[in-house]
């Protein structure tokens, strides 16, 4: 099976979806969990998470043990918009 290239946008979509639907508990998902679920390297994930927190799409909970990430209400809105427009682009045979 041919490897499918994921765009930067689709990786963000996967990260947000993971934090929304698959976070293991109320406090959110850890970096390790996100690396495994969203299938991204640590270096790349760290940069994306920083941007998403700055943009207000993710909430960062810092505890003694580790940083955990939870989707914010703004992140949920973004994810809804992203999914809608992904469908639109898919219809043109394109990827956003």
């Amino acid at each position: 099976m041919a490897a499918v290239y994921r765009t930067h946008m689709s990786i963000i979509g996967d990260i947000l979806t993971t934090t929304r639907d698959e976070a293991p508990d109320e406090t959110g998902a850890s970096v390790t969990y996100l690396i495994r679920k969203a299938n991204v390297s640590h270096g790349r994930l760290a940069k994306i998470l920083e941007t998403l927190v700055q943009q207000g799409l993710l909430e960062q909970n810092t505890s003694e043990r580790a940083c955990r990430y939870k989707i914010s209400p703004r992140g949920r809105e973004f994810l809804q918009a992203y999914r809608g427009f992904r469908e639109f682009a898919d219809s043109f045979g394109l990827r956003i």
């Binding site: 207000g56 809105e77 809804q80 918009a81 809608g84 639109f88």
Partner: protein, 217 residues
Amino acid sequence: MVFVSDSLLLQIALNLLGFVVGLALGIFSYIGFKNTGSPTLFRLNISFFSIGIGFGVVGFGVMIESFVLNYSQVDSWIQTLGIGIQTVGYFFIAFSHGIKSFFPKSRYFKSIIMPLFIIPGNSLEHIIRSISFILLVYGTIETIMSYMENRKRSTIFVAAGLGLLALGEFLGWYSVVFPKSILYFVSLSTKIAGLGALFIPISQVPLRGGMKLGGSV
């Protein structure tokens, strides 16, 4: 009072319809780009705005020359200019497919605005139409290939839309060979029907709640 023929009125009406449809698709893509920051939606936005403006240039140009300037014959450069602007739009649709298929990882290539077209002065309209036709056929084939993968009904509507736009361009080129025939209006109507088919994906996007997001990632 200047006599305006029915065919001229039909030409104006169809072109203005194309202008509105193209602009509506462009605005929708722009909302998508504003919400997500996606370069693909940015290219679609440029594409549909160009197609809409291309129709608008012909529609408004013919209208102004006929009603305001009272010309008995409409200048041919208006048609050429309008079709040229539409071609830029078709180029961006084909360009997006080209990036997806051949340069999925290249960020540098994505930043290229457009290659330079070297076009001789003679037969400009023929050349522009043939470029449009090739770009649209390419876009149609790529979209059909995508349909084979995702099996989404809306994708086949888009393929049909691009195919109709290609057919419209082909008939438009033929109408240059037979200038007094009905082919021009058939060409224009086919292109409008093609643009209409591109509307199908929009109807499937839920336009509520989440579409008000301001920033992009």
